[in-house]
Symmetry: none
Subunit: 189 residues, 4 copies
């Protein structure tokens, strides 16, 4: 019997991200994914119930891999260090995986994004909110509603990465440093 091959899921994911970054989410079709992944159209449906599920699972996979996975391991570090690590991690991922970022960006606000997916984001946002709350108590960070601060990090990271990907600028530690300092100066009290 042909064994169910879990690397196939990765092949599908790769084909999907690559195609989305090339032609956009709107022109992404199941048959084009299949063609790119070198398998039959029907095979996609063995691994995913529908196009919607495929995209949602890909998003969750990327989101977990890019950000959620580091959160637990840095809880003991000082606040600024934690933020700086997250910033670096997020930026590195975003810049070195430009196709993936383009996919995430287009998917994020598309009709395909499910409740479940949005909750992942909330989880991340919740963590950051917590961090900022701490910082405010310690009087390190300006006493401003976190909902006004988070979009700065979030929007800046997204936009910066997208811009760099489009201009084909390579990321350096210096750039990460500089941009993090902008953020830090913005929020430090």
């Amino acid at each position: 019997m042909r064994v169910r091959d879990d690397t196939k899921i990765n092949t599908i994911f790769e084909a999907t991200t690559a195609l989305t970054s090339e032609v956009g989410l709107n022109r992404l079709t199941m048959s084009s994914i299949a063609q790119r992944a070198k398998m039959a159209c029907g095979t996609l449906y063995i691994y995913f119930d529908s196009k919607e599920r495929l995209l949602n699972e890909l998003y969750m996979h990327l989101f977990v891999g890019s950000t959620l996975s580091i959160l637990p391991s840095i809880g003991h570090l000082p606040l600024k260090k934690q933020l700086s690590i997250i910033w670096s991690k997020v930026l590195w991922f975003r810049v070195t995986n430009s196709s993936e970022v383009i996919f995430m960006h287009q998917f994020r606000y598309s009709v395909y994004a499910s409740e479940e997916t949005h909750k992942l984001d909330d989880q991340f946002v919740g963590f950051i909110k917590n961090l900022l709350g701490q910082g405010k108590e310690e009087l390190i960070i300006k006493n401003i509603d976190s909902d006004l601060i988070i979009p700065l990090f979030y929007g800046y990271a997204n936009n910066l990465a997208r811009q760099m990907a489009m201009d084909e600028v390579e990321i350096t530690d210096e750039i990460i440093d500089q941009t993090f300092h902008l953020c830090w100066d913005a929020i430090k009290s």
Copy 2:
């Protein structure tokens, strides 16, 4: 084609923004636009060559109305004041026109966005870049590559507005003040 009947064009634009914010760009169809605008499907093609043109013209219309239009009139003011006015203007527009912002956001990186449209953005970015260059010469602003600064403003504004629209938070002068100060603290030298 394209006779000036601004009433009709506005009706089409309003229908398009409203629908996009309700069902998303992916599910936006020409006949749904026509239906919402209370006209026939074919009438849309009297005013716009194609769906792509319609969307691009709408984007340009919104972009000019929301930002580009203020730029010339404030050139004589001091740097920080100029930035603050632009910030306020942009944010007000984004928050008080949430449908429009959702449309712009979804359209901005979609397959529909043409070269021409991207150049509009560049025009705006060029203006800001200029401003920042001035600031750096006057040693008011950190000496950092403007391409690293602009995404902060751009991304922050976009994200903040989208978040506020979704949470149905009302904008106040205080919020504009607070958020602008975050930005300013980030870049001031």
Copy 3:
């Protein structure tokens, strides 16, 4: 403007019945209907929401045309005469519209048949039940549960018509007479 052409619905109905009798309900596709009706595939969806609706509306159309339409006009006649007219009407229709009957037969118990459609049948059955009830009161008809009698008429008519259509036997008044007498002898008291 092209005017919405209601004869088109008949064209579609005819194509559908003809095709069903030729290839069966299972191989009946929307594109084959469109092709046979000499119109585009999408045109079908202007007149019918879905394949299911098309089939249901066709069934109702045929059912009403073939049986339901005569019921009201014969209420004043004596019982046996009424039954005999219905029998004749049903049989004539079934035999002279063999494609239609094949469609109705295949559709009747298919997955496509909706609640609404079944209710039509009930309406007809209800009428006959009433008639039989009268007959029993007048002691003309055997005092047997109507649910045991109706399938005789219903099943016999269906089967006889189908058989005659397949054997390409022509119907005659004599045949109608003979077969009705079988039925009548079966139920008369």
Copy 4:
């Protein structure tokens, strides 16, 4: 192919009849049969060349089991008795095996039914025709073309059984008696 493993074949047959009565012939898929029969999709093809063959063999199996098998053993009985036994046998089978009857009914006139299958029916019909011929010679039965009589039995039995199955009415000897008398009164001279 087609090794005799009757246990497995029966499992497949049961799964097929059950599923057909639940979802209809149109939604009956090979993989759903396999799933219900708790075996792999490919296994079905060890026992049957194709879906069409499977269905035809099932029909023949049911037909033989339900009717054909009794014919030889009653040839010596008087005409009315023979008919009455067949009626009883047929009705009992149809009512106590409602899934099977639904399958037979849906299959009977579907695209899947092969020549071979139709010949089975002819065999049964031929036997009955013979019987009726006898009856006419003995002047017990009306002198009417048998092709006009058989559909009465055939259609009545089918329809009655289907109706009772749907209404979940239990069959009794009384019902069999009553309905047979209807038939007999119809044809007796």
